[in-house]
């Protein structure tokens, strides 16, 4: 976009400098918690950014206790199930919104917008009581349900934006060849929409994986407590130990999936995040 002036080495160097600032900004807090997780108990409180003595002890400790493994299983199970359901339901609704003409479309879009902006704490109080009465409190479904609900608007927006990009003609051609609207959806549009669906799944998963408020309010034991909630209850390997090292190690472990997603699907995530919000 360089307006006037050729791309000189000087300009490149200046941009490189700016890039470095951004990289430092984004990575320093992450590297700090990684560094803490590798510090030995003796050097944990030395305040050095880079560990003086390296150890895997903290990781060994967390994987030796149910205190971490149970919540990790809960986190994975709850997030994956909620993601699958939210994406399937969102896909159906988004297809209808993007492609079909039917009454109540505006209302649906409006309602999901409201939910996207809804203060989650306002739902925690009533859900706490309702789930206690229904026996859903401190169970997987008790967390999966609110996650689906708050993920659906995100899924519907992102997916309908992706679905609009798909060429209409192919669907028409399929219908011309005798496919029903349903078949046109599953056989023609779904494969074309797969990249968008995949991106949405990543965004929804990140949302569920991230949640803390519901996780800490609607659970009370390790039966369904997820890692973000469990972290705040962490004690060290024994009850009386300083949990800094183990919390850091657990924090690093649950950050790994996010880093992998970001590294491999950067372009898609950026497209997904921006398409839902600004187009229109």
């Amino acid at each position: 976009m360089a307006i006037g002036g050729a791309v000189t080495t000087g300009r490149k160097a200046r941009w490189a400098l700016v890039d470095i600032i951004v990289v430092v900004y984004a990575l320093v807090p992450v590297l700090w918690i990684v560094s803490l997780s590798f510090k030995t108990k003796e050097t944990l409180a030395d305040g050095n950014f880079i560990p003086r003595e390296w150890t895997f002890q903290n990781y060994a400790d967390i994987f030796a206790t149910d205190e971490f493994i149970r919540p990790l299983i809960n986190s994975l199970g709850i997030s994956i199930i909620a993601t699958l359901i939210a994406v399937v339901l969102g896909m159906m609704a988004a297809y209808a919104i993007a492609r079909l003409d039917f009454p109540g479309k505006k209302a649906l879009v409006g309602v999901s917008l409201l939910i996207a902006m809804f203060p989650q704490i306002s739902l925690v109080t009533p859900l706490f009581n309702i789930e206690r009465q229904l026996g859903l409190f401190d169970t997987w479904p008790g967390l999966i349900l609110p996650y689906i609900t708050f993920a659906l608007p995100l899924a519907i927006y992102t997916l309908s934006a992706f679905f609009r990009e798909i060429p209409w003609e192919l669907e028409k051609a399929a219908k011309m060849d005798g496919a029903t609207p349903g078949q046109a959806f599953w056989k023609v549009i779904a494969p074309l929409a797969a990249p968008g669906v995949f991106t949405t799944a990543i965004l929804v998963f990140i949302f569920c994986w991230n949640d803390f408020l519901f996780a800490i309010s609607l659970t009370s034991t390790e039966a369904s407590r997820t890692v973000p909630a469990a972290l705040s209850f962490f004690t060290g390997a024994s009850q009386f130990e300083d949990p800094t090292g183990t919390i850091s190690a657990a924090a690093v472990v649950i950050t790994i999936p996010i880093i992998i997603f970001v590294l491999f699907f950067q372009r898609r995530i950026v497209a997904g995040l921006t398409s839902g919000a600004v187009k229109g």
């Binding site: 700090w32 209808a96 739902l123 009581n129 349900l145 950067q266």
Partner: protein, 314 residues
């Protein structure tokens, strides 16, 4: 498909340039409703009913420690909350965190968006690392900041705070909470703004440049006006999101020293106090505040509610 073709539709279907096919149209409507039904039912069941229920709860004296004393008390809970200084402290704290962090995020986010949009080297790298704060679990980031500001343990505390313990004092704590919020959410703001930047036509910038506009003028006179809708949407999203601030405060201070947000106060009343009546009244008040903020954005600033007009355009 068993409907008789001769049965003409009773009311004319608003045709959108397409021929009004009675049977196809009706099948389309049916499919549309069917496809949307599951999502709509889940969303309404998990939000609609609890909202109504929390309004009902907020009108009762309902303390789980004293379940026998449950009774209808009208607006007593609201009076209790609104005449309580803790609530107003939390409200002020939340507003302060919201306004300051969103303002900083707008400036930083715009800078970051310009960098991501225009950098000549390492664009992929910049975009990738930018997504890390967005994706990372808030609680994880909060712990990182917490340990960074813990005396002795933390590099920031040792470098900047000297002998004091910043997370035990109100104002240092608030600024650290804002720092944590800004770090985590600036990338999201930047991505929304970058999408707006992509809408600025290159020709317009070139023309402005020809006419002698400098970089700052091109930014304020060309880019910002074109990006205004994107900016407002980003601000609306982030303001409502910032108002819900909970995770960072929970980890960093647990609400000590008057740093609790309204979400934190509500949580404490519910989980620690087990007072459903007061908790629900707070929940409703937060909901009303958020609705007011959204209303102001949409009506006063003219923010286009994202998605609201998507059906018509394109």
């Amino acid at each position: 498909m068993s409907h008789a073709v001769t049965e003409a539709p009773a009311k004319p279907v608003p045709a959108k340039g397409k021929p009004a096919l009675s049977e196809g149209k009706r099948a389309e409507r049916r499919l549309g409703l069917l496809l949307c039904a599951p999502a709509a039912i889940v969303m309404l069941a998990v939000t609609g009913y609890p909202i109504a229920y929390s309004i009902w709860l907020s009108l009762q004296r309902y303390d789980l420690r004293f379940p026998d004393e449950r009774q209808f008390v009208g607006f007593e809970n609201y009076v209790a909350v609104l005449s309580n200084s803790y609530w107003w402290t939390a409200f002020g704290t939340t507003m302060f965190i919201t306004v300051v962090s969103v303002a900083i995020e707008l400036v930083l986010g715009m800078a970051l968006a310009l960098i991501m949009h225009r950098t000549l080297v390492g664009r992929g790298l910049v975009r990738t690392v930018t997504l890390i704060p967005y994706g990372i679990v808030t609680v994880v980031a909060a712990f990182s900041w917490f340990y960074a500001w813990t005396p002795e343990t933390g590099y920031l505390a040792n470098a900047l705070a000297g002998e004091s313990a910043p997370l035990t004092e109100q104002w240092p704590s608030l600024w650290i909470i804002i720092l944590a919020e800004v770090w985590k959410t600036t990338p999201f703001m930047a991505l929304l703004l970058m999408a707006g930047l992509a809408l600025v036509p290159d020709d317009l910038l070139k023309a402005a440049s020809m006419d002698g506009a400098n970089a700052w003028q091109r930014f304020t006179k060309v880019m910002v006006p074109v990006m205004k809708p994107a900016i407002l949407v980003a601000l609306l999203f982030r303001t409502l999101d910032a108002f819900r601030v909970f995770d960072n405060i929970f980890v960093l201070t647990n609400g000590a020293n008057d740093t609790a947000s309204v979400s934190m106060q509500t949580y404490n009343n519910l989980i620690k106090g087990l007072n459903l009546g007061i908790g629900s009244a707070m929940a409703v008040l937060i909901f009303i505040t958020v609705a007011l903020i959204a209303f102001i954005f949409i009506k006063v600033f003219g923010t286009a509610a994202p998605g609201s007009d998507q059906g018509g355009k394109r």
